[in-house]
């Protein structure tokens, strides 16, 4: 590998929904990793609240806008050999693309590390992404942008119902929905086109209700690949992974199907030529006979921060070392200091992640969860069982709850309210499931309404049953004291 002495790292700028503190974490790890390798590190980030922008984190820190005009001035001043954009979230990738499009990378002879322009473009553009997946026979959901009802109907008949309709650019976020048949599609599309500022809607193949899984993959220049972490979204497809309660290790996938996803993930990271970390999202049908590749993020992400903390494997640090040419077998896992980074992590505990929503600050916002992110952050809890980790995660949210049920803060819901929230999830759904079970609703019925795997509903039932046992215990203690 040619000599690289000076590297510019992009931060992710200010905290926004969908891009939060995890990039301070990954950027800090990356800066430390590069410095360990004797590389002069230049960091650009406009967020003053980050640790990575402390003066001793990188050799040079610019608290400046992550905007191509400004970054070009910094490049002109510092003359880096390479840029590492994959630690700055989507902001970092978009900035790298824009610098490329403006010819700035070529002008200053700058190499991109960790990813390349083609890969970034593929991950960003749905058509390019679908083409790339087709090249390796990996299935994706079909999607098309349409400007008329006729076009929508034509495409829906081609891919089959139900389909998801999403207007492009709407006022007040209205106009989307799920169409189960032609009549519904005509109705939803008509409204969507009307509300869309650019008169366009996206028609998407529906994998609504399917299971969702994520794999964090790592690959080096010698083509060694490992799966760092598998994560299961408790909430089914239809809810953004950032909005889902997530559990690791994967709990409900048979090993043979897990191997299929694993093989697909390795194929994908190899085909895209990614060196470093990568997050891949899959949808799997309930019968576990089919899957779709939903998304590939050729960079560290919020999920990789979660995967790092869940496993103890420092993804960003290792990705940065791979980016400058190191290989997995050459890099030491800093946590054990004995195993090489090519050693796949093993978990002997359960991790649960729950998002933290800002609905207490935006009281008029629609609380329904869906395909776009609304949460501002998340908590992670570790336990010996799913039940324990789930209840600890609920306590960590700092919303005044001390467990999923029985902490004196339970709300009452009518049966109609329960059914509505189970079908159309909000931030309260996890509590509503517990309440439904307490009221005697069957596991089967709850599974049917939520599309959440039976495994998890039964685990929550264990907690609800324990609540009843404690109430019974109270009666016995009362008798004893009488």
């Amino acid at each position: 590998m040619e000599s690289i002495k000076k590297v510019m790292v992009f931060g992710s700028g200010p905290i926004v929904i969908g891009q939060a503190a995890e990039f301070d974490f990954s950027g800090s790890q990356a800066c430390k990793a590069l410095k360990e390798e004797g590389i002069y590190t230049i960091l650009v980030n406009s967020n003053p609240a980050t640790i990575q922008t402390d003066t001793d984190m990188a050799d040079k820190v610019y608290l400046e806008p992550l905007h191509p005009t400004i970054v070009e001035k910094i490049i002109e001043k510092e003359r880096p050999d390479a840029i590492l954009p994959t630690m700055g979230g989507q902001t970092g990738l978009n900035l790298a693309l824009e610098l490329h499009r403006r010819g700035i990378l070529d002008k200053y002879g700058i190499k991109l590390l960790g990813s390349n322009i083609r890969t970034i473009e593929i991950a960003e553009d749905r058509e390019l992404f679908a083409e790339a997946m087709a090249e390796i026979n990996e299935p994706v959901t079909k999607c098309k942008a349409v400007n008329s009802v006729d076009e929508a109907v034509e495409f829906a008949e081609e891919i089959g119902y139900p389909v998801i309709v999403r207007p492009a650019f709407t006022l007040g976020g209205t106009g989307g929905g799920i169409a189960h048949n032609k009549e519904e599609l005509i109705d939803i599309t008509s409204k969507g086109l009307k509300y869309s500022i650019i008169n366009q809607v996206l028609i998407d193949e529906s994998v609504l209700g399917w299971k969702e899984f994520e794999l964090e993959v790592m690959r080096d220049r010698k083509d060694t690949c490992i799966i760092v972490c598998g994560m299961e979204n408790i909430d089914p497809m239809g809810i953004h992974t950032g909005e889902s309660i997530v559990v690791s290790p994967i709990q409900t996938l048979p090993d043979e199907f897990y191997q299929k996803l694993r093989n697909a993930a390795i194929k994908i990271i190899r085909h895209l030529g990614i060196e470093g970390g990568c997050n891949i999202q899959f949808a799997v049908n309930k019968e576990m006979t089919e899957y779709r590749v939903i998304e590939v993020n050729p960079r560290v992400s919020r999920s990789s921060a979660l995967a790092s903390k869940a496993t103890g494997y420092p993804i960003a640090r290792i990705a940065a070392k791979i980016a400058i040419g190191k290989t997995l077998d050459e890099i030491l896992n800093d946590v054990t200091k004995e195993t090489p980074a090519s050693f796949e992590p093993t978990l002997d505990y359960v991790v649960v992640k729950i998002p933290r929503w800002p609905f207490d600050k935006f009281k008029t916002v629609d609380k329904k969860l869906g395909t776009s992110m609304k949460s501002t952050g998340e908590v992670m809890a570790i336990g010996r069982s799913f039940e324990e980790a789930l209840q600890k995660a609920i306590r960590s949210l700092d919303i005044g709850r001390f467990g999923i049920i029985g902490d004196g803060k339970d709300k009452d819901y009518t049966d109609e309210e329960i059914e509505e929230i189970l079908k159309n999830p909000t931030d309260e759904r996890i509590f509503v499931i517990a309440k439904a079970l307490e009221k005697g609703w069957s596991v089967e019925k709850i599974v049917e309404l939520t599309d959440i795997d039976e495994f998890f509903i039964k685990k929550i039932k264990n907690i609800v049953d324990m609540k009843k046992e404690l109430e019974k215990l109270k009666e016995e203690i009362k008798k004893l004291n009488a």
């Binding site: 939060a20 995890e22 003053p48 608290l63 005009t69 006022l171 946590v335 992670m380 039940e387 203690i477």
Partner: protein, 618 residues
């Protein structure tokens, strides 16, 4: 009752993740009673290691989580408390609006300070995204909920060996502060400002008494337990008033109310007021300049990190307002008064560590709005802007160091006996960043309730360039040429004339709705009339915006609860990515920024250029 059976049930509950609070509620006991019972039955948590390899190899830098086991042997516990002097830092948990990455920053700096002092730094946090839960940040990390039960469990474990000097609550935001008194009552030493003094600043009436005693002005206010009382209080102190409910109905929260009719409407629709849920009413200082001050105190000596002048008008939450260091419009006597009040408050509250004070300046009088004896959201911004790590200094002070000794290496100005202030080298502007793009339907207007998720900075030699960069960092690229749409509420029409005149001089074409256009034309500024949405459903400002004809939107809100034209205009600006401004001061600042950039080049500065004039690097 059979104690064995009791133990069996409680242990099973703990293994299923039941907290002491849940068990207490279900058994009709209180949390401490359950805790004592648990201990008597020998049901205590063990700490297990996260090591990436399921114990196949010995881990060097592990972190821990708690679990309950059927059989308890000490050897099963993997946390191995050290024999060192140690301190526990309570982290801030998940990122949410009002408590974000800024507190994590302060926690990490506390760790750095402790390490420099040779003290073992232990963090408790549950946020997987942050640097504070990075495996190589603290000496030890407990990945646990931040609750009284869990923190006390960890403190008790760590006390078993070595010396637990105490717990730091100043860096975990409100989450940690809320635990301070309970922890102290349970025998845990709270480092820094005492829980009693924390309460003195937080308790409304106690704080009010303190201000009177110190002869520091405070905006008039009162607490209303009925609608009639609310009206009476508002009448006595005079409109406008800021109304703050303790129990919220119908999606309404804090609001600025300008008349009795508005207050009646608010009280009847928005809040449930009663003995248990009073409404706080304060005089609203309209057109006041708001200030934030971050300071460090060792109980006696005070260092003022910065006085941050809010760019947004009073009435916008401090976390949502753009702010500038150093102040741009304050006369020296006001600055001297702010310094004096801050020092007095710090000493009176016996602050040991950090203090944030919020002021409003109106007609030459400095009013105190609030004092928070802990890290604030602005600590990292101030630390970066002035080149002094406030959280580190605060931590060392909590461990007994004297401020005067600590600041010897920094270029600070002595302004009074045992009072210093930092000297910023450049103009630093912090701009808030909002989640409106991801929250469809939310009105992006600013008010007294905080809405921002984060912030970004702009640094340059002068205000205009710094503000331009801050907007750029907040994803708002101010145009240098083009068309501007202006539509402001009646109260703002007299202020908008100067803004519009300047924009016109800078070469912009101005579009306005009827009322605003009339005022502009009367002042000699050409304005193209645009129809409101309600006037013409198809040929209105929205069409121009959609067609890409508008490059900047200036629109202030009338504050009416119904969705108005203004709402749709602001919302469209968010959705279409057009730079928009919803306050007059923001518009004035934007004009300065545009002018500065039109007349000169932007430069870039690295952090060590900001630090270059400090005697020693920290």
């Amino acid at each position: 009752m059979d104690m064995e059976k009791l133990k069996e049930i409680l242990l099973k509950a703990k293994k299923l993740g039941f907290s002491d609070k849940q068990i207490a509620n279900l058994l009709g006991m209180d949390e401490i009673e359950v805790r004592d019972l648990r201990k008597k039955l020998n049901i205590i948590p063990l700490y297990k290691m996260v090591d990436t390899c399921a114990a196949e190899f010995e881990a060097k830098t592990p972190y821990y989580y708690s679990a309950y086991e059927t059989f308890v042997y000490k050897e099963q516990d993997e946390s191995n408390p050290s024999d060192r002097k140690k301190v526990i830092i309570i982290g801030s948990g998940p990122i949410r609006i009002g408590q974000g990455i800024e507190f994590d920053y302060s926690s990490v700096h506390a760790v750095l300070a402790l390490k420099e002092m040779g003290i073992e730094a232990i963090i408790i946090n549950n946020n997987p995204e942050t640097v504070s839960t990075d495996y190589d940040t603290s000496d030890k990390l407990y990945f646990e909920p931040i609750t009284f039960e869990e923190v006390l469990n960890i403190a008790e474990r760590e006390k078993e060996k070595g010396e637990l000097l105490g717990v730091i609550v100043q860096f975990g935001g409100q989450t940690a502060i809320n635990l301070a008194m309970k922890l102290k009552n349970a025998g845990v030493n709270i480092l820094g400002t005492t829980p009693e003094n924390i309460n003195a600043a937080e308790d409304r009436e106690e704080f009010s008494k303190l201000l009177k005693k110190l002869n520091i002005p405070q905006a008039e206010g009162g607490t209303a337990y009925t609608k009639e009382e609310a009206l009476e209080i508002a009448k006595r102190i005079g409109y406008p008033v800021l109304v703050r409910p303790s129990y919220v109905l119908g999606g309404r929260a804090m609001q600025i109310v300008y008349s009795e009719d508005e207050l009646i409407e608010y009280m009847e629709e928005a809040v449930k007021v009663s003995e248990e849920h009073p409404v706080l009413i304060d005089k609203f200082l309209e057109d006041a300049i708001e200030l934030d001050v971050d300071a460090v105190c060792d109980g006696e000596s005070v260092l003022i990190g910065a006085i941050m002048e809010h760019i947004e008008e009073a009435g916008v939450h401090s976390g949502d307002s753009a702010t500038v260091i150093p102040p741009q419009t304050l006369p020296k006597e006001i600055i001297d008064t702010v310094i004096d009040y801050t020092a007095k408050l710090a000493r009176a509250l016996n602050i040991v560590g950090l203090l944030n004070v919020q002021y409003a300046v109106k007609d030459g009088v400095v009013y105190v709005l609030e004092a928070n004896p802990r890290a604030s959201r602005t600590v990292p911004y101030v630390s970066k802007s002035v080149g002094i790590p406030l959280a580190k200094l605060a931590t060392k002070i909590m461990l007994g160091k004297k401020l005067e000794e600590l600041i010897k290496d920094y270029d600070v100005e002595k302004v009074a006996e045992k009072v210093w202030i930092a000297k910023p080298k450049y103009v630093s502007i912090k701009e808030a960043v909002f989640p409106f793009q991801k929250l469809p339907g939310v009105d992006p207007v600013l008010g007294p309730e905080m809405k921002s998720t984060g912030e970004a900075i702009g640094i340059d030699k002068d205000f205009g360039r710094a503000y331009y960069k801050a907007q750029l960092s907040a994803n708002m690229e101010l145009p240098i040429v083009g068309n501007v749409f202006i539509s402001v509420r009646d109260r703002d029409k007299k202020h908008i004339v100067d803004v519009a005149k300047k924009l016109h001089e800078l070469g912009f074409t101005i579009y306005a709705t009827e009322g605003t256009a009339k005022v502009l034309r009367e002042n000699g500024i050409p304005a193209i009339l645009v129809k409101k949405i309600s006037e013409s459903p198809n040929d209105n400002i929205l069409k121009l915006m959609r067609d890409g004809k508008m490059h900047l939107i200036i629109n202030t809100s009338s504050g009416k609860k119904a969705k108005s034209d203004g709402y749709y205009i602001r919302r469209a600006a968010v959705d279409l990515g057009i730079p928009y401004i919803t306050t007059i001061p923001g518009a004035k600042a934007a004009v300065k920024a545009i002018e500065a950039v039109k007349t000169g080049e932007l430069s870039v500065y690295s952090l060590d250029e900001l630090d270059a004039r400090i005697k020693n690097r920290f």
